[in-house]
């Protein structure tokens, strides 16, 4: 068979041969169906060029006094005398997080839980199971280990199971860490990730007085939430919403200044197959409860059985369609005057618009496992990250760094496992990433790759996660071509919390 070459061809061979190699700095590009090109560079800068401008850019034939050339120069696409110094500074700033060490410390105070969520990532034990609570000795040693970090910022996040099932240890860790911090003088914050069902007024008041941030799981409207989050003793949705309102009221009563904006309840949604069709109701629930944002996260393949997977799982294309519809719905709310943002978009937008590595450690390159976060299990075992200890709950100790009683801090960090995870999540060295126009904005989770593909180094094109991330980022770029949407995104970035952890 034979036919004429594909009509919509990009640059011809002659043009490529004449590429102005001494004038044009490193860039990545993608040609879109409409003939426009998106170009990006190492520093997260981007520009749209039409076909003629792209060709003239490649040949260095753009009018040097024109606005496009000036923008290219400003955004580090042109090799001029200022390029090297500016590029080094920009890159150093972007990667400054590498110098600091772990700031996020996830403390699993118990593996027991009073919910039986269908997607349970943590493979929780029932309330009756004994021997899965952190004891005081381990709690003290955990705090001592945490304070060995080289980072000036420490965020201690209580997780489980349901952490409130081991309240005495939570109370102890907060008091002991604060006492210890009188000498250490770190930027210390606490976060409780809880379903709130075991909260009471005394506990709530203690946590608010100690300035502990609250984070809960809210999977959307009552039907969707209770489908995903099974709680036999009461209505999970109603319990969670009751405490969201209660805590918000307590914040309103306590804070009347800017600090009120700082203290808000974080809520996490886990998108299952059930969520896909209910996206409007889910988003409306968040808005009605006064949340400023929603985080439309895809499922992590940790912790649930294969038969459950069929009920809740989806393929990348299904999630991408859901995400696009949801983002459009949220954008319309913003156009109608309600500022409400989608957090996964904001994580990407902070990279795209601010050239800032996000606080979401799995979106960094390299990822935060080990070098940005550590997870401490109830028995003192330490893992690269929360995902690493979830894999351990499934019987695979691949991502265990050591134990707080047998390893010092240096041994926990300076080891082959930690280095391997860094290598596997550094997108500069991964097949397929270097040529991808979205490379500056993509992150990699080696543990995710391990659980899906059996290898911490992914085959990018076949990765579920990569397909979704790339589609999400591309959709943001296409949306941003509309000035009105760009303004909304800029406002989202401004309103989203600046990173606490370095």
């Amino acid at each position: 068979m034979s036919h004429k070459p594909y009509a919509k061809i990009m640059l011809d061979l002659q043009t490529i041969e004449k590429f102005a190699q001494d004038k044009i700095a490193y860039f990545r590009f993608k040609r879109f169906e409409d003939g426009n090109y998106l170009i990006t560079n190492e520093y997260g800068k981007f520009l749209w060029l039409n076909e003629d401008n792209f060709k003239n850019f490649v040949l260095d034939k753009l009018d040097m006094s024109g606005p496009i050339y000036k923008e290219l120069k400003e955004k580090l696409f042109i090799l001029d005398k200022e390029y090297l110094g500016r590029a080094i500074r920009q890159y150093a700033q972007q990667k400054s997080f590498l110098k600091f060490g772990p700031s996020l410390h996830i403390v699993v105070v118990t593996l027991r839980c009073n919910h039986k969520c269908i997607y349970c990532h943590a493979s929780a034990k029932t309330c009756e199971d004994k021997g899965y609570d952190m004891d005081m000795k381990t709690a003290k040693q955990t705090v001592d280990t945490i304070f060995k970090t080289t980072n000036d910022a420490i965020a201690i996040e209580f997780q489980g199971g349901e952490p409130l099932l081991n309240w005495p240890v939570i109370e102890f860790i907060i008091k002991y860490a604060k006492e210890k911090n009188k000498l250490e003088n770190k930027n210390l914050v606490f976060r409780l990730v809880s379903n709130f069902s075991l909260l009471d007024e005394d506990k709530k008041n203690f946590l608010i007085n100690e300035e502990v941030n609250f984070c809960t799981s809210l999977d959307g409207d009552e039907e969707t939430h209770n489908f995903n989050r099974i709680y036999l003793e009461a209505n999970s949705y109603q319990e969670t919403v009751k405490w969201i309102k209660n805590i918000n009221q307590a914040y309103d009563d306590k804070y009347h200044d800017k600090k009120r904006n700082y203290f808000s309840i974080g809520a996490l949604i886990t998108v299952t197959r059930k969520t896909l069709g209910n996206y409007q109701k889910v988003i409306d629930t968040y808005i009605d409860l006064g949340f400023r944002n929603i985080s439309l996260r895809y499922l992590n393949p940790f912790g649930f059985a294969a038969d459950t997977q069929k009920t809740i799982w989806y393929d990348p294309q299904e999630f991408i369609e859901f995400y696009k519809k949801s983002l459009d719905y949220i954008l319309q709310k913003n156009i109608d005057g309600r500022i409400f943002y989608e957090s996964q978009a904001v994580f990407h937008l902070r990279k795209i618009l601010l050239n800032e590595e996000p606080n979401n450690l799995e979106m960094r390159s390299p990822c935060g496992a080990g070098i940005g976060q550590l997870a401490y299990n109830y028995n003192g075992d330490v893992y690269t990250c929360d995902e690493g200890r979830m894999i351990a709950r499934m019987g695979d100790e691949m991502f265990k760094l050591g134990n707080i009683f047998t390893n010092n801090f240096e041994e926990l960090i300076n080891n082959d496992l930690c280095k391997s995870i860094c290598s596997a999540s550094c997108t500069d060295g991964l097949a397929g990433y270097n040529e991808n126009v979205y490379k500056p904005y993509l992150g990699v989770c080696p543990i995710y790759n391990y659980s899906i593909h059996g290898n911490i180094f992914p085959a990018m094109k076949t990765s579920f996660r990569w397909q979704i991330d790339e589609a999400m980022i591309e959709y943001l770029f296409l949306k941003m071509k509309d000035k009105k949407i760009l303004d909304i995104f800029t406002e989202w970035v401004k309103r989203s919390k600046p990173p606490i952890a370095k």
Binding site: S2, H3, L11, Y26, K81, L84, A92, G432
Partner: protein, 145 residues
Amino acid sequence: MSKDFNFQVDGDKLEFTINTKIYSLETIYQAAYLFLDKVYIFLDGDPSKEIIVVMKIKDSPDNNSVDLEKIADEFHNELLNQLLRAKVNKSNAKIREYIVAQALYNAVPNEVDELLEEVEETKAENWQDDPMNIAKPWEGDKESN
């Protein structure tokens, strides 16, 4: 008038050749990588003349609508993309390495001109020279023994 593009489709298989005088092996590999999710790819031939590309549709429900003729077209477009990317990569390789090294070692320069000179010197030194044959594949030695 552009030359016709020849290829063969046989059931779920597609075959065509690529002239290696125009497209380097690296370019062909990188273009091939981008089709891994849709097809199995087999490369053969004489790298000094032409590479034979055979593609076989993956047995997956998502791949029912894979159009092999379109893939052949897209592959050739992707070769051009990769050719340009290879040129951009090559011309910027040293400067990129230099930027990363300087940035990560915190040595932000005061005098940009000085650094540019240094890069030029590095270029002249041609660091890719291999006087001790360190980069030489040992398999080659084995064969010659």
